[in-house]
């Protein structure tokens, strides 16, 4: 099937993308370390020409936008390959969406505006982390509800078992004191298996 092939390709590409991202990050860290380690070298460099300050300002602005773009891309779901963000996905639609994010950032729109833009078109599902709404509260609270129920059942069972054990012990001692009853019923092989109800 073509779908399988494309999704496999997307996975491979995503892996490749992830490793590229990691190496990019390493490069960034190295650059940053180099910049921090050698302030003297930067000062000792040739005097800046007239055109360099605005150029430097432009690139830092671009870097800021690129960082915001990457951050937004990690918050938006690719609707073609639904378990990936558009940052990870290699699907054409994800590429289109990244282009839209970039355009809108350059047009000066806020992160919230851009997320709202996609949500208006694709619904809340487009957010990789679902927002807290009337239809998603169960999704968020469900695991905790199940945990609480499980804990309640566990403690209830333990308590019942303990009560049963102690009352079994009571029955046995009172039986030993008052009657000389049959040994077999009074001290069964495994008292835990026969609880009076």
């Amino acid at each position: 099937m073509t779908v399988d092939r494309t999704s496999r390709r997307a996975v491979v590409a995503a892996r490749r993308g992830a490793s590229a991202w990691a190496s990019e990050r390493v490069a960034c860290v190295l650059l940053l370390a180099a910049a921090l380690a050698s302030p003297g070298a930067a000062l000792a460099g040739p005097p800046a020409s007239a055109s360099s300050p605005p150029l430097a300002a432009l690139t830092s602005e671009d870097e800021r936008l690129a960082a915001r773009e990457a951050q937004l891309a990690h918050q938006l779901r690719c609707v073609v390959c639904q378990n990936q963000t558009i940052a990870e996905s290699n699907a054409p639609l994800a590429a289109d969406m990244r282009a839209v994010v970039r355009e809108q950032l350059h047009a000066g729109r806020s992160d919230a505006d851009i997320l709202a833009f996609f949500e208006a078109r694709y619904g809340a599902f487009i957010r990789y982390s679902p927002p807290w709404t009337a239809s998603t509260w169960l999704l968020w609270l469900g695991p905790f509800v199940v945990l609480a129920l499980g804990t309640a059942v566990l403690f209830g069972t333990l308590r019942r078992r303990q009560l049963a054990l102690s009352s079994a012990a009571d029955v046995r001692t009172s039986a030993e004191v008052t009657h000389h009853a049959d040994e077999a019923t009074l001290s069964p092989q495994d008292p835990a298996l026969e609880f009076p109800r």
Partner: protein, 173 residues
């Protein structure tokens, strides 16, 4: 006995819930545009690049907007169905040619027959994005006021036409 009833009831409930979930296709999503105005666009026509189409011109009638491309196999499959059923039921059907090669799109319609009154060309896929298109083909039912009332994802078959699209259209007419 009652000790066993509770876990059994919980198990059956969970099993029923999961069985219901299994029957749904997770790739089809509800459209965010239902009952909202169709996003405005204006594109050149596939047949005649000199002319342009805007959905504004369809006001006053219920119509279908079908997003298609010649590179998409299910779209090629649904073309004859659309042509036959659209003609039979006199349905206004507009195509949105999505991120396609125009000569290939024209050639396909020439070969299989053209079911559309006209096809507008969304070369960049931006109108598709405005429509929340996930993949082609998708078919939207638009009411006389220009609002989106229904979206079908995937190819239109005779059954989809009869059981999904037409009931919505009839209710709106």
């Amino acid at each position: 006995m009652s000790r066993l009833m509770w876990p059994l009831a919980v198990f059956l409930l969970l099993a029923a819930l999961l069985a219901l979930g299994m029957r749904r296709d997770p790739r089809t999503l509800p459209s965010a545009l239902i009952d909202r105005p169709l996003p405005a666009f204006e594109h050149q026509l596939l047949d005649d690049p000199a002319l342009r189409f805007s959905p504004q011109s369809m006001r006053g009638q219920v119509w279908l907007l079908n997003v298609w491309a010649s590179w998409c196999e299910p779209c090629r499959d649904e073309l004859p169905t659309l042509r036959q059923l659209g003609g039979r039921d006199h349905m206004a059907l507009v195509g949105l040619n999505y991120k396609d090669q125009l000569p290939a799109a024209r050639a396909l319609l020439g070969r299989v027959g053209n079911p559309y009154q006209l096809s507008a060309v969304d070369q960049e896929g931006r109108t598709g994005l405005d429509l929340g298109v996930q993949g082609v083909p998708e078919t939207f039912v638009i009411d006389a006021q220009g609002r989106v009332r229904y979206r079908h994802q995937g190819p239109v078959t005779e059954q989809v036409w009869r059981e999904r699209l037409m009931p919505v259209v009839r209710a709106l007419q």
